[in-house]
């Protein structure tokens, strides 16, 4: 039997707190938001990894030219 997803709803006027099952629309929105965010984060992570790889490659080339690690790091900051 699939788990029933629930949400907490607090009425700020009365202080009443209810635990309610998600509607089909809420489940669909939740899944869409999670998928959208996962895609955005994957793209951002890939961009960050590409930048890090380019930086490491550049660093190695600078050291190959005779710079010290500290000198190369300073240039890439």
């Amino acid at each position: 039997m699939p788990e029933t997803l629930t949400k907490i709803v607090v009425n700020c006027e009365t202080g009443e707190q209810q635990i309610l099952p998600l509607t089909a629309a809420e489940i669909a929105q939740r899944e869409a938001d999670a998928a959208a965010y996962a895609a955005e984060k994957a793209a951002a992570d890939a961009a960050a990894e590409a930048t890090a790889a380019a930086k490491a490659s550049g660093l190695a080339k600078l050291i190959g030219l005779g710079l010290t690690q500290d000198e190369a790091n300073a240039l890439l900051k």
Partner: protein
């Protein structure tokens, strides 16, 4: 400024996908929400995410920019998303036992009927497990809508659940 507690909620034993505060009174200048969260999902790297999902259950015209510091890799990630209003960290199930992430959300001019709504979110995970350490993040978000905010929802970006003892407390900020 004075912080006045409007309402607080603690997640029970079954967990919860979200916490919604509704019927928010319009008598304050701004709103603040303190969250302490942990999810039931194994985070793939630096943590899970607790998000300010929506105002007034409206999922249109949301956007935010964020900056995260990953303590595990000492890297910084900047990004943009339209899938929520503001995004902060949450501890995940593979973080240190019983550790919860603390976050602070500030909502400006929430009762205005002429201004679009802007948000700040500051959070940090509490973790000493494995190579994940603790990660921090700041985000600034917008709900491009001039309606007064009467409800808001905190949930997770990963379709996880907040586990028992996660809390959210809503404050009204007055100028006195």
């Amino acid at each position: 400024m004075a912080y006045n507690i409007i309402a607080t909620s603690t997640v029970g034993g079954g967990g919860s996908t979200s916490i919604t505060f509704n019927s928010i009174p319009n008598t304050y200048k701004d709103l603040a929400i303190f969250v302490s969260t942990r999810t039931d999902t194994v985070a793939n790297s630096d943590g899970d995410y607790a998000i300010l999902e929506s105002f007034n259950s409206n999922t249109s015209n949301r956007e935010q920019r964020f900056l995260y510091i990953n303590r595990g890799t000492n890297s910084v990630l900047a990004g943009y998303t339209t899938s929520n209003v503001a995004l902060g960290w949450s501890n995940a199930s593979n973080h240190s036992s019983n550790a919860f992430c603390n976050g602070f959300i500030y909502v400006f001019n929430y009762a205005s009927t002429t201004l679009q709504k802007s948000v700040q979110y500051d959070s940090v995970t509490a973790n000493t497990t494995g190579s994940y350490y603790s990660s921090g993040g700041i985000a600034s978000g917008m709900w491009k809508n001039t309606s007064a905010i009467t409800s808001l929802t905190i949930s997770t970006a990963s379709a996880a659940k907040f586990i028992q003892y996660s809390t959210a407390t809503l404050y009204g900020i007055s100028e006195e």
